[in-house]
Point group: C2
Chain length 201, copies 2
């Protein structure tokens, strides 16, 4: 038996989503068949709406439905601090801490020669244009603690130093043991980083 | 920081899907923002289309985009065999075996007093109307091997016997050890069932 065509098509579309395999695509499709017409319509319209109304902030490249994003226009933000992240989702993660009160710059990825992504594919030129305005005193490099994330951070740090010398401080978020984790279960790479990043207390 | 409204709305809609928590709803939403306009539109339209075009087969209550479903209208199907399942997805599972060549009857759930679902909430009356036509010789009860599934099977078996005596054979799919599983890891309930369902070889 084939699934009825509209159902098979929905399953195929759902399977394209990240982390959705054939089995869960089918489960989601059957769920959508079960919910009310209104509920299904709300989902479909939210998808269309997000594509229509969400744009990229021309200053920090975070997602926004305004001309400039809420963070860039917030007068309470510390404009001397700039946190550089790879993706808009990293802004969300950082904001959830309620700890950071500066601005952001979203690179749109990380340097990855394997995938053919060099510095020019990222918004590094735009970062330097912002730094040239002279307001930023510290750049916090908050790319992932992965090979690509570290490479990208190193690259940007070097470029900033060569362009701005010590007028701009460049820092990197710490690599170490996650809070609540167990030494015994830590992977070797994390433990090595935790040792290298140690400081006096 | 709040997510931009259209984005927050999409995350909220995605979170209503089964097995999609806040974290994966956000991941899916960011994915949808990243894909092309066309790809997002294909997903949204598939959702709308499935609601518009998929209906319930008036004979077996499986999903279909035809007047009667493909299985009910297939002349090669054995009309003397009727497999009773709880949900349309169970038809898909059964069809994947390529082993069963009879017809189906989808109950639309199982008896569950805890959720206030009694026999009247299921398509049991419709099942009996089909059996009254006199073509079906065997009813295979293929509800899940759970308390509710077993209760539903027992209830239907009793009702069929009292209405049709031995004119209709009533069988239940076997409960036992899944193929490829390990005795050592089997849960007690499965092992008990596997013992009770044993047969001579």
């Amino acid at each position: 038996m084939q699934l009825a065509k509209p159902l098979a098509r929905l399953v195929a579309e759902l399977e394209k989503l990240p982390g959705v395999g054939p089995k869960s695509a089918q489960r989601l499709a059957f769920h959508i068949l079960r919910v009310s017409e209104d509920e299904a319509r709300a989902l479909a319209e939210a998808i269309l709406d997000v594509k229509e109304r969400i744009r990229t902030c021309p200053v920090c490249f975070n997602f926004t439905d305004q001309e400039l994003c809420e963070i860039c226009t917030d007068p309470k933000r510390d404009r001397s601090l700039l946190c550089v992240v790879a993706e808009p989702r990293d802004v969300v993660a950082m904001e959830k801490t309620n700890e950071y009160r500066g601005l952001y710059h979203v690179l749109g990825g990380v340097i990855s020669p394997m995938d053919g992504i060099g510095p020019d594919a990222l918004r590094i030129r735009e970062l330097f244009a912002r730094l040239s305005e002279g307001t930023v005193r510290e750049v916090i490099l908050a790319t992932n603690p992965t090979i690509e994330g570290d490479t990208t951070a190193m690259y940007i740090a070097r470029e900033i130093r060569s362009a701005f010398g010590n007028k701009v401080r460049v820092t990197r978020i710490a690599h170490g043991m996650p809070v609540g984790s167990d030494m015994d279960y830590a992977d070797q790479a994390t433990l090595i980083q935790a040792l290298q990043w140690r400081r006096e207390i």
